[in-house]
């Protein structure tokens, strides 16, 4: 099944029957439905491959694996608490979704630790879980046809911070020889390729808070187009150190007490840290080896607001949400759940709700939208990856993760935000939103497998 993929292998396009087209102009929805009808086995009629998720892994403030994270989401548990690191007393913001009591020695040996910044450590641990679940072994042809695309906003921030401290504060004139390979944004991606022998297309994308959605969208398109058979994808962030939080403090958008997305009482975002890694696999390849398919990735859209370096745009968000549904050949009324960007800032939440209201019309009042950042914090470049877990839980387990910390309705966020308690619901299709600083938007669409 994973042998050569020649163009000739693809099924010939079936000519469109004129009788099936009503009227001269087909609406996007009609076109989408026609396309959907043409999914044959693991391929779309246009030769594009279907994309299965066959593994998932994570480390974040809620847990060090997927089961504990999903359990926390089901229980509406908050992973945000007092920050614990050097010089925290010099910060005005002292809370975050920190991975507590992290000891790298538990997972890695000395030689590895000198090369792995915390963002790489989180990535590798998450990948171990994801790859183990998928059951894949990347040998021979499969290794050549598999790669890694990861997102991170700041890469090895802890390494920057520690070494600046060494030279500026402590006045030393020598730093460890591996500072550069440790802090570079592609370090996690490269170590992942080495760990599993992934020899195909591999790179890292940095689009602030949308990084891992962009990464997963690119991985999806690479598998869909046939450029790769398997892609490890997701993202990671480890910015919870003195310099990292101090920088965010300056913008004055951080909350000192809690992340309360969509609540009238919200007063800002709270940072988190961790990673999420997924195995995106050619559907036919997954079916042929009898893999457990967790969900299907069906659409992706990205766009730029081209407007403001920090303020979001409802039009940009709406265009991207609609774009993801079109790419997925998905009707708006099929979407049962959206994992919101939902940062808990005044600007994001009302803009995002306006975008959803416009994109879905009447259906906006029937779908559920929640922000799990209220529990794990905002993982910046890794956030979309951890949030995709909530999407998969919705599809696979029929459990919608709540928006916790919700205190008071905001008329500008008048949607069903699944306040405070998880809900059981059957959903067939979901979206995951990410709208980054700099106006870069990325939305992913999934369907139940």
């Amino acid at each position: 099944m994973n042998a050569k993929r020649n163009k000739g292998e693809r099924p010939p396009k079936t000519p469109r029957k004129p009788g099936k087209v009503k009227g001269k102009v087909k609406s996007a929805t009609k076109m989408a439905r026609t396309m959907l009808g043409r999914v044959i086995m693991g391929r779309h009629a246009n030769g594009m491959r279907r994309v299965a998720i066959t593994g998932m892994g994570t480390v974040n403030a809620l847990g060090r694996d997927v089961p504990s994270t999903l359990e926390a989401m089901r229980e509406g548990r908050c992973g945000i608490g007092p920050l614990d690191f050097r010089d925290v007393d010099r910060l005005a913001i002292r809370i975050g979704g920190q991975v507590r009591d992290w000891e790298a020695e538990t997972y890695f040996n000395r030689q590895q630790i000198v090369l792995y910044d915390k963002f790489t450590q989180f990535t590798l641990l998450a990948a171990r879980e994801a790859v183990a679940q998928s059951g894949l072994v990347f040998e021979g042809e499969l290794g050549l046809r598999s790669g890694v695309v990861l997102g991170t906003a700041a890469g090895g921030m802890n390494t920057w911070d520690e070494n600046y401290r060494t030279v500026y504060e402590e006045g030393k004139n020598r730093v460890h020889p591996f500072v550069v390979p440790k802090l570079m944004n592609n370090a996690a991606c490269s170590h992942l390729s080495m760990e599993y022998g992934l020899l195909g297309p591999s790179f890292t994308v940095a689009t602030a808070c949308a990084s891992s959605n962009h990464a997963m969208g690119l991985a999806f398109n690479m598998v869909r187009s046939g450029a790769a058979t398997v892609m490890l994808t997701g993202g990671s962030e480890a910015m919870l150190c003195f310099g990292g939080v101090k920088a965010w403090e300056g913008l004055r958008v951080m909350s000192k007490d809690a992340c309360r997305p969509f609540s009238a009482t919200r007063n800002g975002m709270v940072q988190g840290e961790g990673a999420g890694v997924f195995v995106f696999e050619d559907w036919e390849h997954a079916v042929a080896r009898g893999a457990d398919i967790l969900a299907e990735v069906v659409g992706f859209s990205m766009s730029a607001d081209a407007q403001d370096i920090v303020m979001p745009s409802a039009i940009g968000a709406e265009r991207t949400i609609t774009g993801a549904m079109l790419d997925a050949h998905m009707r708006p009324d099929e979407v049962g759940y959206i994992n919101a960007h939902g940062t808990g800032t005044a600007a994001n939440d009302k803009t995002e709700c306006a975008a959803v209201a416009h994109a879905f019309g009447h259906h906006a009042d029937r779908l559920m939208i929640s922000s799990t950042k209220s529990m794990h914090g905002h993982l910046i470049g890794g956030t979309g990856a951890v949030e995709l877990l909530a999407c998969i839980m919705a599809l696979r387990d029929g459990v919608i993760a709540p928006t916790i910390g919700y205190e008071e309705p905001d008329p500008e966020c008048a949607l069903d935000v699944v306040p405070n308690e998880a809900r059981e619901a059957r959903v067939e299709a979901v979206l995951s939103n990410a709208f980054a600083f700099g106006g870069l938007n990325a939305v992913i669409a999934l369907r139940k497998a």
């Binding site: 005005a92 300056g250 958008v253 919200r266 800002g268 303020m311 800032t345 005044a346």
Partner: protein
């Protein structure tokens, strides 16, 4: 006190790319032409100039203890913070 006032006017005028003489005490930041990002930057400049810490959260500017409704209000609030420091 006029020293504080003049310094703040200078900071705000610089941010708005206006001449200090064009600013009036009853003008709001919006009227002066300062958006939310400009306001955050102005407050940073004020903190640096007077070595004070201004309690300001961009998510709920109206709820902050620090009144930013007009230029005059900002000056009054800074004078209070400077006095508290002394």
């Amino acid at each position: 006190m006029t020293e504080i006032r003049d310094r703040i006017i200078q900071i705000i005028a610089e941010q708005a790319m206006l001449d200090p003489s064009e600013l009036k005490l009853e003008m709001s930041p919006q009227e002066i032409g300062i958006d939310s990002l400009g306001l955050v930057e102005s407050i940073f400049a004020i903190e640096e100039a007077f070595d004070i810490s201004v309690p300001f959260n961009a998510n709920e500017p109206e709820k902050s203890d620090f009144d930013i409704s007009t230029l005059g209000a900002i000056i009054g609030a800074v004078e209070k913070l400077v006095a508290e420091k002394a």
